[in-house]
């Protein structure tokens, strides 16, 4: 496969990079929605980050890429061998799977293996894209144009971490924990509000309007295309620094403490902007904790809450659908009111 563009060489787009990093540190955050113009490096960022993540251990020969270190979240094949026998393991890169627009449900969840059914008369399961994305990223470009029933299914699997297939006499369940990254252009249609809420973080990207920044983007990309190897080598150090920080942050994540004051602030913020349900507060807290781990802080502070608040809440407001950019402003105002008071 072609060499991915280094993550650290991406110019600007701080909010998007932060959101994807948070999802990489804590995959349980529930996916990232990136809405914005074309050609802003959405897919580049996802691929770049996946490429710099440390390769993961997988049970060798496992079709679902199970984690040998974890006993309870294995697929049926691996689970049958039990944990008595230490599974042989091998290294595999973190997968990034593209979900093409118009993919059939079969292709996504998997289906009866027609090939083996016809040639050998065996009832076997052919894994789909969800299996391939296990422990990695599932990237959907133009998620707003995807069939609703597929989006429902994806979000359901992403939330439960398990893909359950019941069809054609097949009964298969396998783990499918992945970070769902959906991107799209709001000019072409919108997501149902029910779906918006299921994404953990939501980011708005814009083409840089600053000429100098735009030119820097072009300059780096041009250098990358002329000599990808040399360019990657130049950014390797920076990429490795990010990798180390992610690994440290993952290890520190559970040790990050949250005091009552922070919980109180989360709740106040959510009440102030008027989010429905508790999902907003939970995600806000979780994202802030991941960011604190990234920052190397021992507990979640105001700084972290402030910087994730917009991404975690902007898509959860009960909004007037005809109000263009109101949500971001409303969250920012509430944040300012609360923290600067």
């Amino acid at each position: 496969m072609s060499t991915p563009y280094p993550f650290s060489a991406i110019v600007g787009q701080q909010e998007m990079k932060q959101a994807i990093l948070i999802a990489a540190i804590d995959p349980g955050i529930g996916g990232v929605l990136v809405m914005g113009d074309r050609g802003t490096g959405k897919s580049t960022a996802v691929r770049g980050l996946a490429a710099l993540l440390p390769p993961m251990d997988v049970v060798s020969g496992c079709r679902y890429g199970c984690d040998p270190a974890s006993d309870h979240s294995r697929c049926g094949d691996c689970g049958a061998h039990g944990s008595r026998r230490a599974a042989r393991k091998q290294k595999a890169p973190v997968p990034v799977v593209d979900l093409p627009l118009g993919a059939s449900e079969d292709r996504v969840v998997g289906a009866l293996d027609i090939e083996r059914a016809l040639t050998q008369g065996v009832k076997a399961f052919e894994p789909g894209l969800l299996a391939r994305a296990h422990r990695g990223f599932l990237y959907i470009d133009e998620v707003n144009l995807l069939e609703d029933h597929l989006v429902d299914l994806l979000i359901d699997v992403a939330a439960s971490g398990e893909n359950i297939v019941e069809r054609e006499g097949l009964s298969v369940r396998h783990p499918a924990r992945f970070v769902l990254v959906g991107s799209g252009n709001p000019e072409e249609g919108e997501l149902r509000p029910q779906l918006l809420d299921r994404f953990g973080l939501s980011v708005e990207v814009r083409t840089p309007t600053d000429l100098a920044e735009r030119i820097e983007v072009v300059r780096r990309r041009d250098a990358f295309e002329r000599d990808a190897q040399a360019f990657v080598a130049r950014w390797r150090k920076e990429d490795q620094r990010i990798r180390r920080r992610i690994v440290q942050a993952r290890a520190a994540l559970h040790a990050v403490s949250v005091d009552d004051r922070t919980l109180d602030r989360c709740a106040r913020l959510c009440i102030a902007v008027g989010t429905d349900g508790l999902r907003g507060e939970l995600t806000l807290l979780r994202a802030a904790r991941a960011l604190a781990a990234w920052d190397g802080a021992a507990c979640v502070g105001d700084a972290q809450l402030r910087s994730v608040a917009t991404s975690a809440l902007r898509h959860r407001l009960r909004r007037d659908p005809l109000d263009d950019a109101g949500s971001t402003v409303r969250v920012e105002r509430a944040v300012a009111d609360l923290f600067d008071a």
Partner: protein, 599 residues
């Protein structure tokens, strides 16, 4: 055709031929071309020239319009597998096209799903067919043959994502070929070896970035394309570094077609302060421009950018330019708005039984019914082929696939009277009413379309879309004044509704007007004739069985409006005061009744 214009047409052809040779240097690296041309000898000649200029052995494949995933990305060869009883895979079209050129005929009719797959393959240069397979390299360039007419947008243009990824946008409509095309093979071969090493200086990058900015191009990808093309052009000309003329050529081929606004005059652009810490000499550009130093102008990014913009403007046709000038700078919004794949009977929705057919193109095999279909023939087939390797002998005609049914999508068409009789304050109330109804559509996930009539004609301002941001913008920009050509509005609305029906959707129309027609169908003024025409069209509307709601926008309920509403079988709702709640209820009940009738 006079002598001078013939020369211009000839120049256009030479330019297109030049572009073909530049593309032939490295179709993979440049991404490809959107070639807007009618089918004919001219287009064939251009393609032949491109093909000649390519390196020998580079694949050249055509994309069939209805290709399925297995054939495109690679997968199982079903008939061969059945014949041999061994797994027979085949490489997909894109993998076979590696290092070559993929010709996409009728790109304006390309399905969105297929376009998305091509985009993904262009981005990753890699395709993965079935799960578990390693995948294949697929580095290719695309020649998208676009037969749409200038001005066609939305559903009649190639997928926006694909256009974005194709560097060159060439128009052959103005070209005339004077003779057989000649291709400078040696130059192309020489350029192929060195174009990647060619440097594009910082000032050149600045100039291209600036030019894109002036033309209102937001995507950074366009600037990148322009940089690549400029390097290739310079390499073809045998230069060691990119010259101002190369940038101008790149501007014409890459930036011009992507422009979303006409460039502001130089004076106005200069007044905008340079943002950010910019180390380039652009900051003292004003001082430089004052002096008549022509040599410097080329080295100065501002002057260079102007050079590129000027060159780009030469390819912007007069009509396009005037349209861009009218737009507010977000013109790209109008080009987009293409929607998901057409809904077919075997692909999505709730399964309802099976039918005969191949499990291809997303259709799912119904295994039980397939076996049931094959069962009665087993003894016959066993006698025919006693040595068959399989216990059950399946043939292609046995295959059954799932049949599905899907709920039809509703498209609400707003027909808004923007004439003078719907006096300005009434128009703003009508706009407010439509906004309220739009919010309803958002909740129901309906698509909306907006049609306005005034003066002598009706215009479809917004083809069916799900983007409410666009709908709202269209509505806000709607001007008022002029006559009331109600009959013309009926005609235009009928076209939209027919289109929705043809795509398998359910149309619903909401009319906001006082019904006081005063322009007849033939465009002549006169209240009596206009009213008669409107009534005739209204009665014809009833035939097409599309639910309609008529909101009378006049201060007092009008007999005319009521008569037309009755004739067309619409619900009539006077709007003495803009009462959003009542209106919204009316639309909802209209939809509900209609759904009940249909099902």
């Amino acid at each position: 055709m006079n002598q001078r214009s013939f020369a211009a047409h000839e120049a256009a052809w030479r330019d297109a031929l030049h572009a073909a040779q530049v593309l032939a240097i490295d179709p993979v690296g440049l991404g490809g071309v959107r070639l807007r041309a009618r089918p004919g000898p001219l287009r064939d000649a251009w393609l032949a020239a491109l093909r000649t200029a390519l390196a020998s052995g580079q694949p050249w494949l055509r994309l069939p319009a209805q290709i399925d995933d297995d054939s495109l990305l690679g997968g199982l060869d079903l008939s061969a597998t059945l014949q041999s009883a061994h797994t027979v895979s085949r490489r997909g079209l894109l993998a076979r096209c590696d290092q070559g050129v993929l010709v996409v005929p009728m790109a304006e009719r390309l399905a969105a799903a297929l376009g998305a797959r091509l985009c993904a393959a262009l981005d990753r240069q890699w395709v993965e067919g079935r799960c578990g397979s390693e995948g294949d390299r697929a580095r290719f360039g695309i020649v998208a043959l676009d037969e749409s007419l200038p001005g066609d947008e939305g559903d009649d243009a190639p997928p926006a994502g694909l256009c974005e990824r194709l560097a060159l946008h060439i128009d052959l409509d103005d070209a005339v070929a004077p003779g057989a095309p000649s291709v400078a093979m040696d130059a192309v071969v020489a350029a192929r070896a060195r174009w990647r090493q060619l440097r594009c200086g910082d000032d050149a990058l600045h100039a291209l970035g600036k030019a894109a900015d002036r033309l209102g191009i937001t995507s950074v990808r366009a600037v990148l394309h322009a940089v690549r093309v400029a390097r290739a052009v310079a390499a073809l000309a045998g230069r060691d570094r990119v010259a101002p003329d190369d940038l101008a050529t790149a501007g014409r081929w890459v930036l011009a077609a992507r422009a979303t606004r006409a460039p502001a005059s130089e004076a106005r652009a200069e007044r905008q302060p340079e943002a950010g810490p910019d180390p380039s000499p652009a900051s003292d550009g004003d001082a430089r421009d004052a002096g008549p130093s022509n040599d410097d102008a080329a080295a100065d990014p501002t002057g260079l950018a102007e050079h590129i913009v000027q060159a780009s403007c030469t390819t912007l046709s007069a009509g396009l330019l005037s349209r861009l000038q009218g737009s507010t700078g977000t013109g790209h919004a109008r080009r987009e708005g293409r929607h998901g794949a057409a809904r077919a009977g075997t692909l999505r929705g709730r399964p309802v039984g099976s039918r005969r057919g191949d499990p291809r193109g997303g259709a799912r095999l119904h295994l039980i019914d397939t076996l049931r279909a094959a069962a009665p023939w087993q003894s016959v087939r066993a006698r025919e082929r006693p040595s068959a390797p399989l216990r059950v002998q399946l043939r292609r005609e046995d295959f059954r696939v799932h049949k599905r049914r899907q709920r039809r999508e509703t498209t609400t068409l707003f027909v808004v009277d923007a004439s003078g009789s719907a006096a300005l304050h009434r128009l703003s109330e009508a706009k407010a009413a439509v906004e309220l109804l739009l919010a309803d559509c958002y909740v129901r996930r309906d698509r909306v379309a907006l049609l306005a009539f005034r003066g002598t004609d009706a215009e479809l301002l917004l083809p069916p879309t799900r983007s409410l941001a666009r709908a709202r913008r269209c509505l806000a920009a709607l001007p008022g004044g002029g006559g009331t050509p109600l009959a013309a509005a009926f005609d235009a609305a009928r076209r939209v509704v027919d289109d929705v029906l043809r795509r398998g959707g359910t149309p619903l129309s909401v009319w906001l007007s006082d019904g006081r027609a005063n322009i007849a169908r033939d465009g002549s003024p006169g209240r009596a004739q206009a009213h008669a025409d409107a009534l005739r069209h209204a009665r014809a509307w009833r035939e097409c069985d599309v639910a309609a709601l008529w909101i009378d926008t006049s201060p007092k309920p009008q007999a005319d409006a009521q008569a037309i509403a009755t004739a067309m079988g619409a619900r009539y709702l006077p709007l003495p005061l803009a009462d959003g709640e009542r209106m919204s209820r009316a639309v909802r009940s209209c939809t509900a009744v209609h759904r009940a009738v249909r099902s």
